[in-house]
Amino acid sequence: MSADHLPEHPDFLWRNPDPKKSYDAVIVGGGGHGLATAYYLAKNHGMTNIAILEKGWLAGGNMARNTTIIRSNYLWDESAAIYEHALKLWEILPEELEYDFLFSQRGVMNLAHTLGDVRESVRRVGANRLNGVDAEWLDPQQVKELCPILNISDNIRYPVMGATYQPRAGIAKHDHVAWAFARKCDELGVDIIQNCEVTGFIKDGNRVTGVKTTRGTINTEKVGLCAAGHSSVLAEMAGFRLPIQSHPLQALVSELHEPVHPTVVMSNHVHVYVSQAHKGELVMGAGVDSYNGYGQRGSFHVIEEQMAAAVELFPIFARAHVLRTWGGIVDTTLDASPIVGLSPVENMFVNCGWGTGGFKGTPAAGLTFAHTIATGAPHKLNKPFALERFETGALIDEHGAAAVAH
């Protein structure tokens, strides 16, 4: 947990090629999900004549802005299946990608502060265990033993009444995750094209045949959208709608501190989540700003509220300082579950709606989305996450059920 453990700054890990005239598939969005999708397209499906188009720089959107929490303790079967598969991939990816991105399985604790929280938490622990997800219920004393700096006394507005705990959950160095995927993609022959914004799509009838970009027109057999907060903008260019609202989501870090926080603590009720980064910053986040926004910034009262919650839970943080705050644009759905599958446009596929929790899903999003693009049909893990669920009513409602409010 100190700077000594950080890897050396890497050499250039990928080429910066000019776009070719045509590709077998084009992935729009060079964040974690786009990179993982391209990686699995090349590795699992032998599709190496593909490109990732990134309007800015590689992994500079939400991949650079998230709080890096990885867990799989979701309530519903469909969610537990895809997030647990992601967690299993996280466990093998450092070796597979030959890159130690410091995946630290330090556990994630979800606090309960009300009787309702306790009931929901105990139910979720049971559901998790039935789905093969490691989960435990901790009483306040056990919470204190695992995380001594937490205030479990009853002198706060919402005392800690217990917590769920997933020991295999944790955090990873997000930038290194992106670089690890990018290096492997590049080795496999994938073109990673930065500063290349998509401005339109070329269609033959209802079938997509090309992509217009700021670096010229690119013909392609297939298009996969991995654009998070800008998914609606791309869908509109392609001529269809998505049930997504884009919101700012903010996070903050303190200055560097000695290691004081051994795990990850999330509280839905007072609403903050906190871990300590490998370098020593306290990393915090909470919920989205209420209004729609594409501005990559939010309102300061959201930061104030999560800091107030953090100081109440961790009195030791009272003397820490905010070093910086930032915002990303998250693509929320009304059931707080992602959309991974086909789109109304032939040969165009959508991976979006991961909202506030996309980082943890990165490997499974990539794996299942690559399968969907390569075969034209969803993988069994992402089949329930089809766009059609908003018509059929088969929603996967993780609002409140997913251990944190979205």
Binding site: R241, Y291, N292, G295, F300, R324, W326, L334, F390
Partner: protein, 133 residues
């Protein structure tokens, strides 16, 4: 934080308000005749505009009245505040660089001072950096 000019109470902090999403969504006229696709559109599909967006807000801790707002979803500047039930104002028809008082609020007696004016430059949020950890 947004500074929002409530039509009844005047300029107040965003924390006094709640967001109501896209404005001008009417309840289906013939709900019994809707097909699943149309219900999905009504229930789950909303515009997600990058740019000027018509949305609803309610002054929860003040007058508790709903109103509509035109706001830029990139700059977060508030361009217009107007009454529920009123048509979306045409910003292009206004003088460039100057936002008109829209809505019927301006004509109502006993209006709070400045209530009908729309905030522009003041309606910005705290600047934030954009680096990850």
């Amino acid at each position: 934080m947004l500074l929002i000019s409530c039509p009844n109470c005047g300029p107040r902090d965003e924390t006094e308000f709640h967001y109501g999403g896209q404005a001008h969504i009417a309840y289906p006229e013939n709900p019994n005749e809707l097909r699943d696709r149309e219900w999905a559109e009504y229930l789950f599909y909303r515009e997600n505009t990058k740019g000027t967006f018509a949305e609803r807000w309610v002054h929860s801790t003040g007058c508790r009245q709903w109103f509509n707002m035109l706001r830029d979803t990139v700059s977060y500047d508030i361009h217009s505040i107007y009454a529920m039930g009123q048509q979306r104002p045409d910003l292009q028809a206004d003088k460039p660089g100057e936002f008109s008082q829209t809505g019927e609020f301006g004509q109502e007696p006993g209006l709070a001072p400045g209530a009908a004016t729309t905030s522009t430059g003041a309606a910005t949020t705290a600047p934030t950096s954009s680096e990850g950890v």
